[in-house]
């Protein structure tokens, strides 16, 4: 079972190199991450983007990119379409977003899934490594579905459960978040929680368990419980493997709290054909490296047919 990003890093070295298409590595942090990942033996990059910009940043970070396949393209959507196309045709195992707006990448994946008639809903899981927790923790959907309806939440959850299985969590614990309080009108997210819990109970969502709690406080304090002592006394061992957020704003905002805490984050979209790393454009090279390594390991496990 994979418990940490250092487990991921170790496995990426063992399972690499994987062919990785990088979408517009036209920024020093992205190019540096590609350089280091290649030097470690995790990846064999295919660079797609603006020739001059890629050459300039490669030179700045001391990376000879002449030995790698380069596809010159300026249009952002085409850059993305080319990379995702390579993933779906089997030419590469992994794709990583570079310094490019994420919406281009999601659009490419949605089109590719439609063309492949996979029926797969495109979603993103942002994964945290929390020092006190003995497993990785995911937030979903942090990238695509703005206000998912119940049917879409089922798909989001199935994708997240699949990712958990790839990471070796046989029966992941899932918290379906809702802003419900004891007063005020009922929230649709709470009704979704109840329905999802019923579905999970009847086995319709695969091997997973939906926790009997819809808030972080409820998970750690129990229903009706209260925090008595300092927050530092809290036992985080009950942290679920996945938090299903009610909407995009929630998942994305929570996921990026790594910048306020002692937490590492990486984001990934598991498609029907492989892994797409979704670093934020604000991420620094070490965080991008983590995400590339995650992509390599997930791609390897998809290829192995781990379910």
């Amino acid at each position: 079972m994979i418990r940490s990003l250092s487990d991921i890093s170790r496995l990426a070295l063992e399972k690499g190199p994987k062919k990785l298409a990088v979408l517009a590595p036209e920024d020093e942090e992205f190019m540096l991450a590609v350089k280091r990942s290649w030097e470690k033996g995790c990846i064999e990059p295919v660079l797609i983007g603006d020739r001059d910009k890629m050459a300039r940043v490669a030179e700045t970070v001391g990376f000879d990119i002449s030995r790698f396949e380069q596809i010159v393209e300026h249009d952002r959507q085409t850059v993305s379409d080319l990379g995702i196309g390579m993933l779906f045709s089997g030419d590469v195992s992994v794709v990583s977003k570079g310094q490019i707006t994420t919406s281009y990448v999601y659009r490419s994946i949605i089109r590719a899934e439609a063309k492949a008639a996979s029926g797969m809903t495109v979603t993103v899981v942002s994964i945290w490594e929390v020092p006190e927790v003995d497993h990785l923790v995911g937030f979903t959907d942090s990238g695509v579905n703005i206000r998912p309806d119940f049917k879409t939440k089922v798909e989001i959850l199935r994708n997240a459960v699949f990712l958990c299985h790839l990471l070796g969590y046989e029966t992941p614990g899932i918290a379906v978040l809702s802003g419900r309080r004891t007063f005020g009108e009922d929230l649709p997210s709470y009704a979704d929680y109840e329905s999802l819990r019923r579905m999970a109970g009847s086995g319709c969502l695969g091997d997973c368990e939906i926790l009997e709690a819809t808030s972080i406080a409820e998970i750690f304090l129990g229903a009706g419980g209260r925090l008595k002592e300092s927050v530092n006394e809290i036992d985080l061992s009950k942290t679920p493997h996945i938090f299903l957020a009610p909407c995009l704003d929630t998942a994305n905002i929570l996921a990026k709290l790594d910048l306020a805490m002692d937490i590492k984050r990486c984001s990934i979209s598991v498609t029907s054909r492989g892994a797409v790393c979704i670093p934020a454009r604000s991420d620094l090279s070490s965080a991008i490296e983590d995400q590339i390594e995650m992509g390599v390991v997930v791609a390897d496990r998809i290829q192995e047919g781990v379910r």
Partner: protein
């Protein structure tokens, strides 16, 4: 500027005591009331069954401290309505939930006719003591409004700015947060954020600097924002985080508390007096800070009449 909960408590010491209405206090409330009464900034007014409260107080150090008991019998509804009447009539300055359930307490306080609202919209601000820094930040609305529209968000922001003033933030920097940092008509929170930022630019929020939409990385880190070409005095240094809706606000503050180990307190704003609901993830230590803050609000005339 008040940068920690300890300083909040210290600031409340030594001035005029505020009268705190507590309907049906429970033992845990008494421990807190002892502390803030000893600190010298609260005079507890306990409302409920006189005999039962006398007996409870006798077992507590509060028995030797100044307090008042208002005997209205054991009915929770009567205790709460009496507490609300006391604050409406100016005979109490602050209202705390006490032993009343959260649902009846909030419904009574928010009742348009008999409650304590100043206008149609009340809000709740969480006050978070950020790790590694001596800085308090406000996150709002984290408890009351489910899916506020732009009109409600304007009031939620105004309420928070009032509280920021009490904390000594002279020109508060507000991050109106969303999933992305660009205005995208498909994501309603980005439109609200942009409108609020524009309103601020026109001076509608006084001296506050309001920027949005900002995604969380841009709001939290100037370096991250610069990598996205977002340049603003708010990035990396926000005093107030305005969230899109309750579905975001509630888990956000809980994540900061449980995963970030950050202390949180909170206050209902937009009522005629400071109102303190009982929120389960706020520890007793921080509840004392809430009362200190309520006292400062009472003294400075902020967020109440």
């Amino acid at each position: 500027m008040i940068g920690t909960f300890q300083k909040m408590i210290a600031s409340a010491r030594g001035g005029v005591r505020a009268r705190l209405a507590v309907p049906l206090p429970i033992k845990q409330d008494l421990d807190l009331l002892c502390r803030v009464t000893e600190e010298g900034f609260i005079l507890p007014v306990l409302i409920g069954d006189g005999g039962a409260m006398e007996s409870l107080v006798k077992k507590s150090p509060l028995s030797s401290l100044e307090h008042e008991i208002v005997n209205v019998g054991e009915d929770p509804g009567e205790a709460l309505s009496t507490a609300i009447t006391l604050v409406r009539e100016g005979r109490a300055d602050i209202l705390m939930q006490g032993g009343i359930g959260q649902k009846p307490f909030m419904e009574e306080v928010l009742d348009a006719k008999n409650g304590l609202l100043k206008s149609k919209t009340a809000s709740y601000a969480s006050i978070v003591q950020f790790q590694r820094r001596e800085k308090l930040v406000l996150v709002t609305d984290t408890f009351i409004n489910n899916f506020p529209g732009i009109a409600e968000k304007q009031i939620i922001l105004e309420n928070a700015l009032g509280l920021a003033g009490i904390l000594g933030m002279e020109e508060p920097k507000v991050a109106v947060i969303s999933a992305i940092e660009q205005v995208n008509p498909s994501i309603p929170s980005t439109l609200d954020a942009a409108a609020l930022a524009k309103m601020a630019e026109r001076g509608q929020f006084g001296k506050a600097v309001v920027d949005g939409p900002l995604d969380m990385d841009c709001a939290l880190s100037r370096v991250a924002a610069a990598r996205k070409n977002v340049r603003s005095v708010v990035t990396g240094n926000a005093d107030i985080y305005l969230v899109p809706e309750i579905e975001t606000g509630l888990p956000l503050v809980q994540a900061l508390c449980f995963f970030g180990g950050m202390k949180t307190a909170g206050m209902m704003l937009g009522a005629k007096v400071p109102v303190i609901p009982d929120v389960p993830f706020i520890s007793d230590e921080e509840r004392a800070a809430e009362l200190a803050l309520a006292v400062l609000m009472t003294r400075k005339g902020g967020n109440h009449e």
